[in-house]
Symmetry: C2
Subunit: 614 residues, 2 copies
């Protein structure tokens, strides 16, 4: 008999503690302390309360909790002394059904992990709808996590424990993240298409206008139709565009290319607008399943719900699956969203991929018109739009570390990148006194530490020296040359410029002090795309209504919203990424619970937009 | 009519200024100011006084002096407006006889140099005995110096101006560094032998027991005989040993292997001792002409002088050309000097070179006995020796930068070397806030700057991170790994150990602070070889007697004296290296004037040792 939230909120404390028995392994105190915060507006709010209790408890109780867990496929499993919950979870992951080799391998990993960290390896092995994670994924994750620093790994274990508790709580409440599961399945299904050569490796790679890319477009088109979109088409650059009309049946579907004669033209009525949303469906090489695609599927799930309920909003919803954002096959980053803002670069048509195929030929092969006229006609009239929103997996560690499922983007950061070389004088490491040196590596070291400190001052700026090398360095030669890269980002152009100017001034000063010189070539510069305050507020209100804490953060990575920002107000919603927010990597991951929350937040945004005064 | 030092010391100031006219291009004020320090004990003292005047004059007069010089093969030469001295010098370097291509190339270099430094390129183009430098060497040096920092290049021009002034001064005084020239010629002659494959490249490479190496040994043997050594032989490891008997004709020649039956055995008398000296004649690949060899030839020149004068000292002099110090063909560093201290490693005999030839085979091919018995018999009895002295080119920038020709070594530094890796966590450079990072490169940067600062505190310790690399670094990825080397040296074991312990403690602390970990493997550790105070004092007295400033400095590089240090007192004399003291490089260079001073210093040491109370 599932518990209800009302039942939990009104029970006596001992009864309520009993209701939540078994969520955290051998540790009822967590639920008990969280229950002091009753009533809870949602399961999400209850989960967050328990997360907060554990985070505030300090290291000793956290370690005790971790150590209360059984080893994965460990001795307790063999001796049948697992808790009922653990046994069920490990069984579903197929871990009670290992081959002797797999079992021996996991025992070895357990031994190494325990020796290094002094606590057992914890992994939430139940995926969406109680399915187990594939054994191979479990072992790969185990091996990867063995390399982590101990404090990081302690936190990672706690995050997995919260995920385990979330799944157990869902079971107790008979709650299924149905929408999240559906969106999860869509991602799984779309991820079956991958470019030639990658399927064999089990890798996901979908680059512009390949067979796999066109299969994705066709699948998205069909899924949009199935969801109940009124009009769906693939445009002249391969974007998949779905429109769900507004309640005013005469509403002009803004997404229809301007140049086309429309059957619906007569339905046009002045003042009727469209909300634009979407993200990209191409991927980097060996990428993740959620980068981009989550921003197409989340609004699709919302439209499906509206369609099922027979509901029309006082505005149209236009969802675009952008064909190209990653710039992998051709150096044409943001091609898909750029076409909507009139920024398609005509020179791109003649650009060749690694096999010598021009983009024009690739377009023609894909059945696209490959004409600039058709592409230019994709440009949208901003006056017809309310704005642009985009859901995206965070691709960073912030939400994951804070144990918060959703985040509201304040700005897509401005950035500037350089490649540089420091030139001092190579000399004998034994015979050259410290005050006679012009050490190129120490000069770059000083730059790195200054940039690190300076970015830290801003709180939300970042500075990175990602490439660093003394070419042909020898153990006994003071470096005469040192190559480096420099990547600076900040939420506004002004903040980026101030950071940039301080870092470059210090570079000049330290070169002067050290008697070295440098070269520095700017390789990239992008303006910030601050989120429109009113759209940020809408996201905040939507997230808050779910009982989920509202957290705001800048986006350090670029997104399609940067392009739309040039012509209309925009704001993004981030969904927590697991595994420290790893992205552009097969380990990129989310949960169906988090996805469910993002669908509900998007639905809330739509409803609040439809009823601003409710 | 040459000037005499007495004439200069007693002339009126205007007369003396006139006598020194033309030493420094269009700048009589330098000699004028130096003359206030009269009387001068030696030409070397006068030279140093002028160096001091210019060094203390400040930047503006220094720049004016540099700019008073003509361009190399420049317009002034073409228009015949050079000073007589410059014209003579450029003519001797063959620069007035350039091909049109060479002339155009030099003009291009002049233009680039002037544009970068805003003063003309100055190079002392007259070699020993007024010979010009080869045009190819001039052009190679010009190209290399174009890469120098501006303040360094200003100092380098001044050093060359001092060298030009020295040559002009020698001309005025009719002074020829005869001993220096002879030793210079010996080096040139010995440098004609080079290993197969290097002659074609114009490179000097002499590795253990090659044909070139054996030719060097034969040549050294003949040169020793020509100098008047009483006994000369090549020993069981290829060392060339020459003995010049002491005045006591019955003196036992200590250098004779202990096991051998000697014709001179009956001459043995208790208490008669030998001064041991020498250095190595093998080279690194593409090495310099002076590294090692200077320490054989300088005492040979002294013995030649003694022999010519028919003088015997109250002790024997044993000069050893060590066969192997660099460990190039076989990993058997210090084989030659180690044989004298009983440190020949028997396993070396079976070591193979790159062509699979064992050392045993190489020895047999060279006509050496290749028996451990014969090698072990080379071990010297320390009781029979006064001590060991070694002359060596500095291989560092200290004397060159101070404009001082000779230096007395206080200690051969203790050292320790490591190879390490810093391990943090790779993450997205855009999306990972500064306070969420575990940047492996920033951690190494902190180590580098700490080690630099800590070594600087000691004054004469050195710390170097010569190898530094973020493997597979990307511009937009925070480094998860960073590889580095660490080389720490100090004049005593205790000082090295304190430096080492502080640097490792900081490494541990910064890893803790930054949540990163590291690996560190010790690859080498060598004890310090402090010079014997009484032998340092003898060198200081000898140098001082020449009117040359006494400068003491540690040796950062290892030398044969390190091995002899294990069994007897030792002290080294360094000779300034040109081109910032570059070594293990064809640009390693000295002057016949500096070499002359080192021969005279060594002779002084011998005379003072012979007459300690004079």
């Amino acid at each position: 008999m599932p518990i209800t939230l009302d039942q939990l909120n009104t029970a006596s404390l001992p009864e309520a503690v009993q209701l939540l028995d078994g969520l955290y392994e051998h540790s009822p105190w967590i639920a008990e302390k969280a229950l002091l915060k009753r009533p809870f507006a949602s399961l999400a709010a209850l989960k967050h309360a328990m997360v907060t209790v554990l985070n505030e408890a300090g290291t000793a109780p956290q370690l005790a909790l971790i150590r209360a867990h059984p080893e994965l496929a460990g001795k307790a499993m063999v001796s049948k002394s697992l808790t009922a919950e653990s046994s069920n979870e490990q069984n579903k992951a197929g871990l009670t059904d290992c081959t002797p080799q797999e079992f021996a391998h996991i025992q070895q990993l357990n031994a190494e992990y325990n020796a290094k960290f002094d606590f057992p390896f914890i992994l939430a092995v139940r995926g969406p709808r109680g399915q187990g994670l594939p054994k191979a994924d479990i072992i790969a994750t185990f091996e990867r996590r063995l390399n982590n620093p101990v404090d990081f790994e302690r936190a990672e274990c706690l995050r997995n424990i919260h995920r385990i508790a979330e799944i157990r709580l869902n079971d107790k409440f008979g709650f299924e993240p149905t929408l999240g599961n559906a969106v999860w399945d869509w991602h799984e299904s779309l991820a079956q298409h991958t470019d030639p050569g990658y399927a064999e490796l089990g890798q996901l790679t979908v680059t512009y206008l390949t067979e796999a890319h066109r299969a994705c477009a066709a699948q998205l088109q069909q899924q949009m139709l199935d969801c109940g979109f009124d009009e769906v088409h693939i445009d002249a650059v391969g974007n998949v565009v779905g429109i769900y009309h507004g309640s005013d049946e005469g509403g002009f579907p803004a997404g229809q290319p301007q140049g086309e004669t429309l059957a619906g033209e007569q339905r046009r009525r002045a003042g009727e607008k469209t909300l634009l949303t979407g993200s990209h469906y191409d991927t980097v090489r060996n990428g993740g399943k959620y980068d981009g695609r989550l921003g197409i599927y989340v609004p699709m799930a919302c439209v499906q719900e509206l369609h099922r309920a027979g509901q029309r909003l006082p505005f149209a919803i236009e969802v675009v699956g952008f064909a190209e954002e990653e710039g992998q096959r051709y150096k044409a980053t943001f091609l898909g969203s750029g076409a909507l803002t009139g920024h398609f670069n005509p020179a791109w048509l003649d650009q060749q991929d690694a096999d010598g195929i021009t983009m024009r030929d690739a377009m023609q092969h894909a059945g696209l018109p490959a004409s600039l006229e058709a592409i230019n006609a994709l440009k949208r009239d901003p006056a017809k739009y309310l704005g642009f929103v985009e859901v995206h997996i965070e691709q960073g560690p912030v939400l994951n570390e804070l144990d918060i499922p959703l985040g509201i983007v304040t700005s897509i950061n401005a950035s500037v990148r350089y490649l540089g070389e420091m030139v001092g004088m190579a000399c004998h490491a034994g015979t050259t006194p410290m005050d006679r040196r012009r050490d190129a590596a120490c000069a770059v070291a000083e730059l790195a530490l200054y940039a690190e400190k300076r970015a830290q001052q801003d709180g939300n700026s970042v500075a990175t020296i990602g490439m660093l090398q003394v070419p042909n360095g020898s153990i006994n030669v003071v470096p005469g040359h040192c190559r480096f890269s420099l990547d600076l980002r900040a939420p506004s152009d002004a903040q980026r410029d101030a950071l940039n100017s301080d870092v470059l001034a210090e570079l000049t000063a330290l070169c002067e002090r050290r008697g070295v010189r440098h070269t520095l070539d700017e390789t990239m510069r992008a303006s910030a795309a601050p989120s429109a305050p009113e759209w940020q507020a809408r996201w905040a209100s939507a997230v808050n209504s779910l009982g989920v804490p509202v957290h705001q953060l800048p986006s350090g990575a670029g997104h399609d919203a940067m392009k739309l920002h040039e012509v209309m107000p925009q704001a993004m919603l981030f969904v927590r990424g697991l595994n420290s927010g790893i992205s552009h990597n097969p380990l990129e991951s989310s949960t169906s619970d988090d996805i469910e929350l993002s669908v509900r937040a998007f639905s809330q945004l739509l409803q609040q937009l439809a009823n601003p005064n409710s």
